[in-house]
Symmetry: C2
Subunit: 139 residues, 2 copies
DNA sequence: GTAACTGCAAAATATTTGCATCCTT
DNA sequence: AAGGATGCAAATATTTTGCAGTTAC
């Protein structure tokens, strides 16, 4: 797993630093999405709040993670699939937000349905955000 | 139109004030969505920034407007359809954000496609956010 | 050694809260 | 008249920027 992380960073021409490794690790160890606050909480005083902002921004630019549209307009990030590239995301999967526990899931196996747009509109990306009760909270 | 606005406010047990009328009017006069900043810009110094925050919050609580999930996680609001009620939105329409001009459209006539969720997940709301080039910018 | 990255301080923005005053009903 | 709404000031929260010191390569 550690090799994997170094690989990802190198592949994107990023130098391997503690904060980047640690943050990337967090994303790999969660099934869902992370907010800035989640990362800050998990990392304690390990690194600066500003470093988190900059790291997340860098990861988004490189196409390592992507932001998730949320109903409450909180800012959340999740790992991109391999197909993603800098500035050109293909994260065509459904996002699910649990109303109960707040966890955000990336449902990678569910394909985005095709939407018929009106005359004159051209689509480059479609995001689907489903809210409800997740598997864990449903039991 | 003015009667209509008063009606909407009264129907929701809100007293009719200048700021509420004006802000509601703005929503009726736009085809898309408005951000706090848009409203502030349009209204000039007519009323306080705080009043805009509170008015938007009130409208959301009453189900007059709803927030729109956006990819850039900016906070935008749009009018709810009549079917919406306080705390229980049925704004099941597609939102379209133009990458070029930034305008957000509510495509009311396009129905939300059904999404097949994994075992154990229960959905209460589905939001679809399409990005691309809008009719205006496409010409 | 050099370019890139980080931490700290501080600025800029965005949002929330308290309270006195004003307006709607 | 009474309750709710607004404006102002200020507290909080969030995000960005500049710069000097540090680290990866």
């Amino acid at each position: 797993m550690i090799e994997n992380i170094n690989e990802i960073l190198k592949k994107n021409q990023l130098s391997v630093t503690d904060s980047r490794r640690k943050i990337l690790e967090m994303f790999q160890h969660t099934s869902g999405a992370l907010a800035h606050a989640d990362i800050e909480k998990q990392s304690g005083t390990l690194f600066d709040r500003v470093t988190i902002y900059r790291t997340l921004q860098t990861f988004v630019e490189k196409g390592i993670i992507h932001t998730i549209p949320t109903i409450d307009n909180s800012v959340k990030y999740a790992l991109c699939k391999d197909a993603c590239q800098a500035g050109h995301h293909h994260d065509n999967h459904v996002h699910f937000m649990c109303d109960e526990c707040g966890t955000t899931y990336c449902l990678n196996n569910i394909s985005i349905p095709q939407v018929q747009l009106p005359e004159g509109f051209r689509s480059t990306q479609t995001d689907v955000v489903v809210s409800g009760i997740c598997k864990n909270c449903n039991d």
